[in-house]
Symmetry: C2
C-alpha cells in the first residue's frame, strides 16, 4: 500500500510561503465598472474623490422664509420686525436660497400679521438655517480610500459627491470540485458506503460570506485523469480552484500530484489540527487548493487560508478577527506537533463568560453548527488548564452569545423541544444545549458553566433522586433543583425483541451499549448490575460509551449492539422495542443567582405550560 | 402656510404600539421550499430533525485494514500478531466496515511481512478507528429550532442528516418610493435646486443586510394623488412599503395623509433625534413607513424600525445589538425632548477605547460613513460629560476598530493621501482622520483620543511653529512632535481675483470666510489681523467658521464669500486664485507611548518616502 507522509509546516510559515508565491505570480482581481446605485458591498479599486460639493448650492435647511439676515437684527419680543412680501421668499427644506438672501426663518417662528406680512420676535444671523455649499462633502475631498468595501452610507456619500459609476473589483469565481468514489449527491436515502456530498454546500455558503461566487462541478470519482481534466476546466473558468477530498497521501489521493503536474505545490501538510492534509498550490497564476475530505478539517482550511486568498484577490489586508476573553471550562490536552483549533460554546453565567469545548473529531460537523467561537491552542503548547482565561475567536455576534441560555447535563430531547417552543414564540434569546451527563450538570452549575443542568441521579441507598447528590456536591446552597419531568427508563432492544430479552439481567448474554461515565443512566446501569449480582466484566460492551439516548438507540437500530438503557421517547423514535425498568425524576439544577434570570424563567414557564404537555405526550414516555 | 405639529412619542412606546398593531393584523412572511444546497442565509420556518444518522453506516475513520478487534488483543512489541489476508479487509477512510469486522488498524501501524501478510505490534479495541452510526448526528435529533438562520455549517448538517429540501421564509420585497419636486436621479452635474436622490440606494443596501429585496420606484413629484397611486401599486407588489421624504408636517408632506386614507397611521413623530418626523402606518396588512427626507434621519429610522419590522416578518426576535464600553471624548449636551443618536468614531489609544462624536446634523451622510458606532443619549438625559464611560452600539467589527490609526487635528488632504497609499500597499489597518484644528490635536493627544495630531501653531512672539504650544499644553513630555511637511498658506480668492485683493489687509473690504476657533489657520488669521492693525469686528464674515481648507475654498468658489485663508492645494483644487502669505511648519504630535506603534511607524514611513513626495508635488503647495 502506497503511503507518502505529509509535511508538517507551521501555519504562519505555510501562509507566508503560499501568499508570497501568489503575490509573485501576480494573483489579483480584475476590475469592472459598476453603477454606484448597485455597488453596495463591492470593493473599490482606487480612492474616490467627490466630483461636486454636497449640497452643491446654498439650500434652505427648514421650511420657512428666506431673508437677508441683516433686516432681522433688531427683532425682539419688545421690538418685533414686520416682514413685507418684498422682504422674503417662501422656501421649503432643500430649496435653493434666492439671490441676496443669506438666512432662513423657520415657519414655526413666523407670526401672520395680515396682508401677506409676518412678524418676527427674534433675529437670524447670516447663514442660519441654511445648508451652505459643501456642508457635508467638499468637491475634491476623498470619500473613501482604495480597497474600501462600499457600505450603504458610503454609496450614498458617493452619489451625493456626484459619482455615479465606480471601478470595483470583480467578484471572484471559485470552482469547487467534489471528488471520491463513495460520494453521492444529497439524498435522504443513501446506501451503505455512500457518503452524502455536503461539503460543497458548506464551501459555497462560506464563499458567499467572502463575496465570492461558487461554481460547483459534478462529483468526480477517484480517477486521476478525470480529476485532472476537471481541474484544467475549472482553471479556465474560475479564479480560484478548490478540490474537495483527496488532499492527503493515501492510495486514492491525487490532488497534490495533479497540482504538481499543472503548476506548483507550495505546501502539502500544515501543522494544524484539524486541517493538516491540505494542499496549497498554484497553476496558471491561480490558487489551486486541495481541501481535506473531513468537513471540520476542510472548514478550518476554508476559514484560515481560502478567506485570506479571497482577501488577496480583493487587494485587502488580512485583519485579525474579533476575539473575546473567556474562562476555559475544562482542561484541554493538545499535541506539540500541531496548533489545534478547538470549537467552543460560550455562555455568560453569573457575570462570567466561559468557554466549553465541543467534540474535537474532524468528522463532526455539528461541532461547527454549535460553535460560538474557536480557541486556538498554539503548536508549542501541551494544553490549557481548566479555569485559565483564554482568547476565543468569535463566530457569532457577542450580543447573540450574551443572550443564550446554556442548558447542559443529562440528555433529553425535551430540551430541544422547549428551545423550539421558545423560538416559535419569538423569545429574545436562544437556547444552547449540550450533553455531559447528570454529574457533568452538577459540575457545570457548580463551576458557573451553565444556567440550567438536567439531572436524574438515583441515590441507590434511599431510592430518592438527585437530593443527596446536590447536598454532597453543592453543600453551600449555591444551587437549587426545580421540577422537571418524570420519565420511563428501560431497555431498548431490536424491533420484535429477537433475543427475547425480558429483564435487565438478560443483558449479560448480549452485546450491550452503555452511556458515558457520570451519566444518570450509567449510574442506573451500575445500580441494576449490582442488584442483579453482575459485574462490568460480565457485560460485553460495557465500555462502549455513548453520550445520548438517541445515540444508543441508533447503535441498536444499526446492529452494532443488541441492548442499551434509555428513555422511551428515543426507543419510539427508532422503532425499537422497549422493556420498562423504572420511573425516574428528571429535574433541573439552577444556580441560585440565576433563578430570576428572565431566560431561565421563560424556559421553565414553557416546560410547565399545558401547551407543552401536548408535545411531551406526543413524544411518549413522560409520566 | 399650513403646519401641523407632529407627535413626540418615546421610541419604545412607538415600537410597542406599532409592532402590536402589525402582529394583530397578522403581518408575517410567507414560506417556500428551498433546496438545502441553496439555502445558506435563509431562515427556516419549523424545527429541522435529522431523517437519517450521520454516518448512516459504520465507516472506517482511517486508511488501513478492517479486522475483528479480538484477534489483535495479544499484540505487543514482544509478541507481534501476524494478520493473514483472511483476517483483514483493506479499507480507505469512509469505507463501510465489512460484516464481522469491528475495528480498523491504521496503515501507519502495519508492517509488511510477505505473502500479503502484515505484522502488528499493538492491539485495537472494538470500534477503534471506526465512525459508528450516528457519531455526528442521530436520526430524530433536532438540528435547528424554528426561525434559525442557516449558516454554511448548518446547511452541511441538514444534508448530513438526510434533509435535501426545507421550508424557509420568503425574502420580503420592500418597495421604496422616492418623492419630492426637487429630487433628481444620480448625476454628476445637478442643476441649482436639484437634490440628488441617493437615499434609495442607502435604503437598498440596508435592506440587503436585512435579507430583504428592494424594489425602487421612479421618483414621484410632490403631488398627493401621484404618490398615493404609487403607494397603492407598491402595496400590490411588495411586502413592506417605504415612502422617502414627505413624512413631516409641512405644506408638501403627504405621507401621513395618504397612509390614513389607505389604512391606519399608528405613529407620526417619534421622540428621537435625528429621525423625529417618521410615519409608522399599515395598509392591507402591510407596513407602510414614511421615512424622513434627511439621510441621517432616515437611516436612524431604517436601523431602529425597519430592521425590526423585517425581523417580525421573519418571525425572529429583536435581539440587542453588540455594544462596547468607551470613554466619551467631549461633553455632549442633549435635549430632554428627544432620545438622541450620536454617531461616534472609536479608537484605542494607550490601551483605552474612546469615542469621539461626529457631526450631528441630519443632512450629514458622511457622519454615517465615518461612524464606528452610535451612542444613544436617553430622552430624560441632559447630556453626558467628557470622560464618562458610555455604551456604544457597534456598526463595525471591533477588530476593525482596534486596528485603526486615529489621526486628528489640523486639516490637510495629505492625511487622506497617506491613508490611501497605505491601503494600496495592503497595510493591515485603516486610518480614520477627523478635523478638529491644531489646538484640538493638542487636546486629543493629551487626552488619549488620537494616535497622531496634525499641528501648525505659530508662536507669534518667536515666529517658531508648535514648540511653545507643546511645551505649554503638554509640559510633562507626554508627547513629542515629529516631522511633517512645510506648506504654503495664503488667501484664496475668486478666480481672476475680481476684487483685486493683493495682501492680507485687503480682507477688511470683502466678505471673509474664517476657520473655527483653535485651528492653526485661525490663529494665523488673528496674528495677521493684529499685525495689520485690524480687529475681528472690522471683518465681514469673521464669525463664518468652517472646519477644512476645502470647505473654505468651496464657499469662495460658490460665491458665499470673497476670500479666506488656506493652503495652496485647496485653492488649486477649486481653481481659485491664491495670494501666498507665509510658509508654515506642519508637524505631527505623537503620544510617547505610541511612537513604536506599528501603525504610527507605517504612517510616518509613507509620509517620509520618496514615492509619496511625488504625490505631494502633484497636489502642490508643499515645500
Amino acid at each position: 500500500m502506497k503511503y507518502n507522509y505529509l509535511n508538517n509546516l507551521p501555519l504562519e510559515e505555510a501562509k507566508n510561503k503560499y501568499y508570497g508565491h501568489l503575490t509573485a505570480v501576480g494573483f489579483r482581481g480584475k476590475t469592472e465598472t459598476a453603477a454606484v446605485t448597485d455597488a453596495c458591498g463591492r470593493i473599490i479599486k482606487n480612492a474616490a474623490y467627490a466630483h461636486i460639493c454636497s449640497p452643491h448650492y446654498n439650500a434652505s435647511a427648514m421650511d420657512g422664509v428666506a431673508v437677508k439676515a441683516e433686516i432681522t437684527f433688531t427683532a425682539s419680543e419688545r421690538t418685533p420686525v414686520t416682514l413685507t412680501p418684498a422682504d422674503f421668499t417662501v422656501v421649503d427644506t432643500g430649496d435653493p436660497l434666492p439671490e441676496n438672501a443669506d438666512a432662513v426663518i423657520m415657519v414655526e417662528d413666523l407670526i401672520e400679521s395680515g396682508e401677506g406680512c409676518y412678524k418676527i420676535i427674534s433675529s437670524v444671523v447670516p447663514w442660519q438655517n441654511v445648508r451652505q455649499v459643501g456642508e457635508d462633502i467638499c468637491m475634491g475631498d476623498m470619500i473613501a480610500p482604495s480597497g474600501t468595501v462600499l457600505t450603504p452610507s458610503l454609496c450614498g456619500a458617493l452619489l451625493a459627491g456626484g459619482i455615479t459609476e465606480i471601478e470595483v473589483i470583480k467578484n471572484p469565481v471559485a470552482g469547487i470540485i467534489p471528488t471520491g468514489d463513495e460520494i453521492v449527491p444529497p439524498t435522504s436515502e443513501p446506501e451503505t458506503g455512500n457518503i452524502i456530498e455536503f461539503n460543497s454546500t458548506v464551501f459555497k455558503g462560506m464563499l458567499g460570506e467572502m463575496s465570492a461566487e461558487a461554481k460547483v462541478y459534478p462529483i468526480i470519482p477517484d480517477k486521476k485523469e478525470l480529476i485532472k481534466a476537471t481541474v484544467e476546466k475549472a482553471l479556465s473558468e474560475c479564479d480560484i480552484v478548490l478540490v474537495s477530498a483527496g488532499s492527503s497521501a493515501g492510495r486514492d489521493d491525487y490532488t497534490s500530484e495533479i497540482i504538481s503536474e499543472l503548476g506548483t505545490v507550495l505546501v502539502h501538510g500544515i501543522a494544524i489540527k484539524p486541517g493538516k492534509p491540505a494542499v496549497l498550490g498554484e497553476a496558471q497564476g491561480k490558487p489551486v487548493i486541495g481541501l481535506p475530505g473531513y468537513p471540520v478539517s476542510a472548514i478550518v482550511i476554508m476559514d484560515e487560508i481560502v478567506r485570506e486568498v479571497a482577501a488577496m484577490y480583493y487587494g485587502r489586508a488580512r485583519l485579525p478577527r474579533d476575539t473575546v476573553k473567556a474562562v476555559l471550562s475544562k482542561k484541554l490536552v493538545s499535541s506539540l506537533k500541531y496548533s489545534e483549533y478547538v470549537r467552543v460554546s460560550l455562555g455568560r453565567i453569573n457575570g462570567r463568560l466561559s468557554a466549553s469545548p465541543l467534540a474535537r473529531g474532524a468528522g463532526v460537523i455539528t461541532s461547527f453548527t454549535k460553535a460560538d467561537g474557536v480557541l486556538i491552542i498554539p503548536q508549542n503548547c501541551e494544553g490549557i488548564e481548566a479555569g485559565e482565561e483564554i482568547g476565543v475567536r468569535l463566530n457569532k455576534p457577542l450580543s447573540e452569545i450574551e443572550n443564550t441560555l446554556i442548558v447542559t447535563g443529562s440528555h433529553d430531547p425535551l430540551i430541544d423541544e422547549v428551545s423550539d417552543f421558545l423560538a416559535k414564540k419569538g423569545a429574545p434569546f436562544r437556547v444552547c444545549s449540550t450533553h455531559v451527563g447528570s454529574m457533568g450538570a452538577i459540575y457545570a452549575v457548580r463551576d458557573g458553566l451553565a444556567h440550567l443542568g438536567g439531572i436524574h441521579l438515583l441515590d441507590t441507598e434511599t431510592g430518592v433522586y438527585n437530593k443527596s447528590y446536590v447536598e454532597k456536591y453543592l453543600p453551600d446552597g449555591k444551587a437549587v433543583t426545580v421540577k422537571g419531568v418524570g420519565r420511563v427508563q428501560g431497555l431498548m432492544v431490536q424491533k420484535g425483541n429477537p433475543l427475547g430479552i425480558r429483564e435487565f439481567r438478560d443483558i449479560k448474554n448480549v452485546r450491550y451499549v452503555n452511556r458515558q461515565r457520570g451519566a444518570g443512566t450509567r449510574i442506573l446501569c451500575d445500580y441494576l448490575l449490582e442488584k442483579n449480582g453482575l459485574a462490568p466484566q460480565d457485560i460485553n460492551g460495557y465500555h462502549n460509551e455513548e453520550f445520548t439516548h438517541t445515540a444508543v438507540a441508533a447503535l441498536i437500530s444499526a446492529g452494532n449492539a443488541d441492548a442499551g438503557l434509555g428513555i422511551y421517547s428515543a426507543a419510539k423514535m427508532y422503532g425499537l422495542d422497549f422493556i420498562p425498568v423504572c420511573n425516574e425524576t428528571y429535574e433541573f439544577l439552577v444556580d441560585k443567582n440565576e433563578l430570576e434570570n428572565p431566560m431561565v424563567r421563560a424556559f421553565l414557564d414553557v416546560l410547565y405550560s399545558e401547551e407543552f404537555k401536548t408535545r411531551l405526550n406526543k413524544m411518549g414516555g413522560y409520566v
